[in-house]
């Protein structure tokens, strides 16, 4: 596809712009910003990837992964601002996901240790882990607030923080994992995944594309489970002090 052909694709940006103007949705500015940002960001990534793939230097690959983890952490940390030290917890989780998945992929020779494989797969997994983190943190903080009375009841009866937070933690972990599991149930029936579609459009053998997609799906399952559980177990202790008192909740005490 040439840049001239691609520029014709801007017609697909004009359609929502016209609609938002006609219906007074007030989304014109955001649509333009989103379009410009996506063009700049993707073109920059394209050039960087071309350079990294050409050099095959491990340092550049690591730098790319660090960049991805930094961006993912920056994005997800806002949702967990109430949790002390959430930035480091997210970084540890993303690094662990990266090391675990690439370790298995390269260690078992499932994929070759080349930038062409490491970077796109890392991007998909860290991106997915970021979304999972946001889902988990949103649900976890809501659950803690909703179950505050239950948490304090368990503490007042002699329970430990882990026992007191158990329900909130498990509910949030399950809730953040469900979308990944559910979307995998209908994959291929409702939608063709982006990576597989991209490979087919680029001329790859559909069965080869399917094999790669299955690999990614299985990796996403691991990512979903590890992200939620790890983040959950790293986060809950910071909600309590050394006297096993709940400290990190919006206050709704009702002193009598």
């Amino acid at each position: 596809m040439s840049f001239l052909t691609l520029s014709l694709a801007l017609v697909f940006v004009l359609i929502p712009l016209i609609l938002t103007k006609t219906l007074n949705l007030g989304l014109g500015k955001d649509t333009v910003i989103a379009t410009v940002r996506s063009i700049i960001q993707l073109l920059a990534v394209g050039y960087i990837l071309t350079f990294v793939f050409a050099t095959e230097n491990l340092i550049y690959i690591i730098l790319m992964v660090i960049l991805m983890i930094t961006a993912a952490t920056h994005n997800a940390r806002k949702k967990g601002a109430a949790i002390q030290g959430i930035t480091w917890k997210l970084i540890v989780t993303f690094v662990f996901i990266e090391v675990l998945t690439q370790g298995i992929l390269i260690g078992f020779k499932i994929t070759p240790p080349e930038a062409q494989y490491i970077i796109p797969i890392s991007g998909m997994l860290i991106g997915n882990s970021m979304v999972l983190s946001i889902l988990f943190l949103n649900r976890f903080t809501a659950e803690i607030e909703a179950r505050k009375d239950e948490t304090e009841l368990i503490l007042s009866l002699g329970g430990t923080p882990k026992q007191a937070i158990h329900h909130s933690l498990i509910t949030a972990i399950k809730a953040s994992m469900i979308p990944t599991i559910e979307s995998q149930k209908t994959i291929g029936l409702v939608q063709l995944p982006g990576m597989m579609s991209g490979q087919i459009i680029a001329g790859a053998d559909p069965m080869q594309a399917v094999q790669f997609q299955l690999l990614i799906l299985f990796l996403l399952l691991t990512t979903a489970a590890v992200t939620s559980i790890m983040l959950g177990f790293l986060s809950y202790p910071t909600l309590f002090n050394s006297r096993m008192q709940l400290i990190k909740l919006p206050d709704n005490n009702n002193p009598a």
Binding site: D149, E150, E152, L153, I154, L155, S156, L157, G158, G159, T160, Q163, R243, M244, Q245, L246, D251, N253, N254, P255, A256
Partner: protein, 241 residues
């Protein structure tokens, strides 16, 4: 006369942000006695209970439980020994039996069904309720289950927060008898919050009157019939009127 103290508070204050809820409270609860905690809403009575159970810590001052500073105790041991049953009677989803089992499960143990049934009988509930879902209980039944659940830990000090507020007259009388029974037979120190001053005079040995986060007057419950403090006089008059 038993002069041992179950709980002593020395210049205890508690603030939630800028809001001062407990203000420089000094006083003690006698061991083995029943003490009523009375006062208007917002006086800080429930907060005082939460401080004694260790769910929150004072911002200033010291709390001494059975002659030892509160911070000496492991929080889990403290909370099992200083049982707390709140007015809200929060239940965990499931059956009455599941709720009664909770303290034992938290301690890594189990509560046999017959022991749970005995506890229900002790608080005046039919053992047939054991397998009933807590969502199907009345407010009064929940209060009784909440007390029974706290008793599972066999606390030496029991803090009861307006446990008779949603009970009918007969149930209230049952709970009053239960409080006296627990106190007498098991030598449990009981501190309970009540809005019913007649109840305080009849049931308790001592009474604390709290207003606006402060301890205004304390002593034998007879103080309610002849208070020294002007504010307490007005409070008692208002209640009895």
């Amino acid at each position: 006369m038993n002069n041992e103290q179950a709980i002593e508070l020395k210049n205890v204050s508690y603030a939630d942000g800028p809001l001062k809820i407990i203000k420089n409270v000094t006083g003690s609860f006698r061991k083995g006695k029943i003490t009523s905690l009375v006062g208007p809403s917002g006086a800080g009575k429930t907060t005082l209970f939460r401080l004694c159970n260790g769910i929150i810590s004072p911002t200033h001052g010291r709390i001494i439980i059975q002659a030892k500073p509160i911070q000496v105790y492991e929080p889990t041991d403290l909370r099992r020994n200083v049982g707390l049953a709140l007015q809200s009677a929060t239940m965990i989803a499931g059956t009455v039996y599941k709720n009664l089992q909770l303290p034992r499960i938290l301690a890594g143990d189990a509560l046999p069904e017959d022991e749970a049934a005995d506890l229900l009988a002790a608080v005046g509930l039919d053992k047939d309720l054991l397998m009933r879902h807590v969502g199907d209980l009345s407010g009064g039944q929940k209060q009784k289950v909440s007390i029974a659940r706290t008793l599972v830990n066999r606390p030496e000090i029991l803090l009861l927060d307006e446990i008779t507020s949603s009970l009918d007259r007969i149930s209230t009388h049952d709970i009053e008898n239960l409080i006296e029974k627990i106190n007498r037979e098991y030598n449990v120190t009981i501190i309970w919050i009540t809005h019913n001053l007649n109840q305080a005079i009849q049931i308790s040995d001592d009474t604390w009157v709290m207003m606006n986060g402060q301890l205004i007057e304390s002593g034998p419950s007879s103080l309610l019939t002849n208070p020294k403090n002007v504010q307490v006089k007005q409070f008692v008059k208002g209640d009895f009127a």
